[in-house]
Amino acid sequence: MFDLTPEEWTAVQLSLRIALVATLVTLPFGIAVAWLLARKNFWGKALLDGLVHLPLVLPPVVTGYLLLIWFGRKGPIGAFLDDYFGIVFSFRWTGAALACGVMAFPLLVRAIRLSFEAIDRRLEDAASTLGANGFWVFLTVTLPLALPGVIAGMVLSFAKALGEFGATITFVSNIPGETQTISAAIYTLTQVPGGDAAALRLVVVAIAIALVALIASEWFARRAGTRYHGE
């Protein structure tokens, strides 16, 4: 029963690829925004904070539709990226990654921001008296100390991206082999007669991936934690 058909395999691989790309590509932006929100006071900070969190509270279909309007082939940003960089989002797996990245972004930023705020700023002062400028303080003190939070944020983001459904299906539809993720495949299977066994197989796969991700993140976070307090 647990032999996946080639189509199911494709959906699993596609899901993993989309979630991984979404997490890795949004990570630098997530770190930058989290740092701005944790450390800087600037005009429009509340607005940025609100924008970042919007996908968390908007109906996913709304987010997907906004992406379709802006990042579709004829949308202002989508047309620009297509003309100058040859990057196309609509009805491609890259679009699914974009939708997942946007939906997971608030979770990524929250986790990293919290860990930035928890860092003892006096260690950063110590680094600057030792000759480190702002950039090096960030790279050698702030970021390594925030590592457990960064990892937690990445796992949350990855898990969210794996499970994303509404925004993705609205933006890039449900095309087998291109944009059909595990979630979309399960949904499709439950809509056809006799799809239950296949749906169940994918459900088990989804649970297994989620568990592995959680255990891995615990392990990484604990390792990072003991490094600071033990040897």
Binding site: A126, L130, G131, P144, L145, R227, Y228
Partner: protein, 225 residues
């Protein structure tokens, strides 16, 4: 020689301090809350004065009139904090090397060896700060500040977080530092006993102001503790 003349308002508290040190070891002496740490932070560049001037030898570090404010990372002033502030994610050896890396100094194994043996921290090198005792941590902090080859060393109550036996353990190292490291020191403390052993010049701070400056005779004035 260090020349300080700074003003800074911190909420209700007003600091207005003017003094000069003559090199060697000078002590900033006064009760807790007198503003000693704020003054030292201004010298290090961690706090910006509202007005005034700070100069180390002929090098102006801060001058509000001339709009000069050298950032902390370019002042080359070693700072030993009350709580050590070692980097918990780096080993002792990496903590010691940090200032050299960040200041872009070439390796100097002879100096490294000299400071490590002066402070007796050779056995601690592979460990992380989380596994050190309070006294060991402070010794590493001295080493870290010295190995960046500072032009001035600021010691802000470096013994305050230690119990009495640990203090007695560290004091001789501090005396050796003063005699052998050849770096001018500013030693901040509210303990007359420590200052008596280490400093030759005393600047008494009270309520954010320099109340008196002179020799060790200033220590046994009433209200000093």
């Amino acid at each position: 020689m260090l020349a300080v003349d700074v003003e800074k308002r911190l909420g209700e508290f007003q600091i207005a301090a003017k003094f000069e040190t003559t090199g060697g070891a000078a002590a900033l002496f006064g009760a807790s809350g007198a503003g000693k740490t704020s003054i030292v932070n201004m010298i290090a560049g961690l706090v910006t004065p509202d007005r005034g001037r700070i100069a180390l030898d002929d090098n102006v570090l801060f001058d509000s009139a001339a709009r000069v404010n050298v950032p902390a990372h370019r002042r080359r002033i070693g700072y030993v904090f009350q709580e050590g502030r070692l980097f918990p994610h780096l080993t002792v050896a990496q903590n010691l090397d940090y200032g050299r890396w960040m200041s872009g100094l070439p390796p100097d194994p002879a100096e490294h060896e000299r400071i490590v043996s002066l402070l007796d921290i050779g056995a601690l090198l592979p460990r992380r700060p989380g596994r050190l005792s309070g006294g060991e941590r402070q010794r590493v902090a001295f080493g870290r500040a010295l190995l960046m080859k500072p032009r001035l060393l600021l010691l802000d109550e470096p013994l305050a977080s230690l119990d009495r036996p640990r203090k007695l353990e560290i004091l001789p190292y501090l005396a050796r530092l003063r005699d052998e490291a050849e770096v001018p020191m500013i030693y901040v403390s509210h303990q007359a006993g420590e200052i008596l052993r280490l400093a030759s010049q005393v600047i008494r701070i009270e309520d954010g102001r320099v109340q008196a400056a002179g020799g060790l005779e200033l220590l046994d004035v009433d209200g000093a503790h």
